[in-house]
Amino acid sequence: MRGLTKEYVIRRFLMFLLTIWLGATIIFIIPRLAPGDPVAAMISRMINQSGYIENSAQLIEAWRKKFGLDDPMYIQYLRYLWNMVRFDMGYSLSQFPQPVIATLRRGLPWTIGLLSVATILSFLFGNLIGALLGWRRTPKWLKRILPLSLSFTSIPFFMLGIILIYIFAFGLNWFPFSKGYSDSTPGLNLRFIVDVIYHGTLPAFAIVLTSMGGWALGMRGMMISIDSEDFLILAQAKGLPMRRIFTWYAVRNAVLPQFTALALSLGGIVGGSILVEYIFAYPGVGYQFYQAIVNLDYTVIQGIAFLLIMATSTAVLVIDLIYPLIDPRITYQKK
């Protein structure tokens, strides 16, 4: 690929591995510094549910042996890393015979669908609004109206979600207040797709409306600093139409740093969407996260955290690798 050197790709890939390793290590070590024993906690939960369990002490011991909790810490750690690399996250504690990965496989498509649609929409709208705000020749009335669309910036996704539920689901009854689809069976037919879009509208709106402003502000700043560049004056002198100057000369250049910003803020967007799914009981990974917290299902919690770290770092890696294609001036070749 143009501008990409082997050395850069390798370096970038090593950083990708470093990120995942760091994340995986943090979620392994810190919980183990805390007092408490997951197996004992689980047994006591079973006792709470069924009243009494015979030989609970032996049961704890057997399970500790089975999950290798009596081994030295570094062996547990190495085994954990090896399992994570193979996506073997063990069994769900609350739905016991089911492997964690099966749970995640159910939620992941929903999360990826909602998040990618919402992120792309907010990136497009936000940059367009920002570009118009920073452009000298935008009509005055538009410049007055546009900032209104940014009024939800700096409110967390989920708080706007709560407000949207109250207005549009409880008050006006226009949209459903929870779930990803109604009782119709999932399948690739038109009715189900419409149903999914209908259910996804409010959650997506909550993310788009709140994250749009950040893009708009960044874009506005870039447009202002590009405004005095010589190539814009030259384009005008050549008599190019204003629309063409706006899109292919100003926006084309101003939008580039926004892709870096996208890579940097993706982690925050993913985190924010966990809460949105929780508020809307959307059937994605974020809602499963909440259910796992309630059920004290530690393997699922750890699995989801690892999956989210993995997914975000992969997306950031992809953005970084296609960046030279978007901006041909960037090369990683040594001078």
Partner: protein, 315 residues
């Protein structure tokens, strides 16, 4: 005072002709900055002065009647009609906590966690960022790689995992955990600032005069970075308060202290919105929004003060 008024009226009558220096043209009189500072001050005062006027013990479970709407509102909850009174101006929730007392005790807590975590993060960021920017070489490589890696980790996912294990969490522990993810952004940002400042004439001059690096950083560079650092700090505070209230809204906050996020959690658990109890969620969200918008305005205001280009295109 009189002189100031004259200058002001003169400026409004003939805005572009006057050549003398307008004392209202001080960049620190930035509207966004002042409004934002006012909003944050309002929340601080609420926590400081509030307890003098309102009994905060009402924030405990069962200290008031249940499900009362704010004063002047009549609402039907679960088929029973409730009338709001002055006894509980912001209403009460289903566990008999008074909303006003909850806000007065909760708002400073949320602010406190955010400010402590952000300050720790900022401190680490300043140290690592200036070391990376000023020293360069392998130090820069290590710090930059670390910061770039940590910044892409979805912090909330890790924070949720940690607090799911550490169930009984204290406010100070929470602040420390949050600080773990509050340092990469300031580090990157301070590093970039130091890199540009390093090439300035006065820094070169100081280097040539044999001033030790630490002194250059503190005496020559720091003062020039202050507005940016303040802007980045208030952005950081927003981030940490957001993370803290997100954890609390999932039920992972301190259970003994009534924070705004925990109030949201209880309200979500009790399906407050769909029972029409808008005040239960509405007031904590409003308070948090004031905090968020306040710090957001402070950050953008400080940005404009530090960087005149952002003040807009004058057409």
């Amino acid at each position: 005072m009189a002189e100031a008024e004259i200058v002001q009226t003169g400026a409004s009558a003939a805005p572009k002709t006057g050549r003398r220096i307008n004392r209202w043209d001080n960049p620190w009189l930035n509207v966004k900055f002042l409004v934002g500072a006012g909003m944050v001050l309002f929340i601080v005062l609420l926590g400081v002065v509030g307890p003098l006027f309102w009994d905060t013990r009402l924030a405990r479970v069962g200290s008031a009647e249940l499900n009362l709407p704010p004063v002047g509102v009549t609402v039907e909850v679960d088929g029973v009609k409730y009338v709001g009174t002055w006894k509980h101006p912001l209403g009460t929730e289903s566990n008999g906590r008074d909303m006003l007392a909850l806000i007065i005790t909760g708002a400073p807590m949320s602010l406190q966690v955010g400010v402590i975590a952000a300050l720790i993060g900022m401190g680490i960021g300043i140290v690592l960022g200036s070391a990376a920017g000023y020293l360069g070489g392998w130090v820069d490589n290590v710090i930059r790689t670390l910061a770039d890696s940590v910044i892409t980790i979805p912090a909330l996912a890790v924070l949720i995992t940690i607090s799911a294990y550490v169930r009984q969490i204290e406010l100070s522990t929470m602040a420390l955990i949050l600080a773990m993810f509050a340092w990469p952004a300031p580090t990157r940002f301070v590093r970039a600032q130091v890199l540009t400042l390093r090439e300035r004439g006065y820094v070169r001059m100081a280097q040539l005069s044999g001033v030790p690096p630490l002194e250059i950083m503190l005496k020559e560079m720091m003062p020039n970075m202050l507005p940016w650092i303040a802007a980045s700090l208030s952005g950081n505070i927003t981030g940490t308060i957001l993370a803290a209230s997100s954890l609390e809204a999932l039920g992972l906050g301190p259970t003994r202290i009534p924070t705004l996020g925990m109030t949201i959690y209880y309200a979500i658990r009790a399906v407050a919105m769909l029972r029409g109890m808008w005040w239960w969620l509405g007031f904590p969200i409003l308070t948090l929004t004031i905090i968020f918008v306040g710090f957001f305005l402070i950050a953008t205001g400080l940005d404009e003060i530090a960087n005149p280009r952002l003040r807009g295109v004058k057409s």
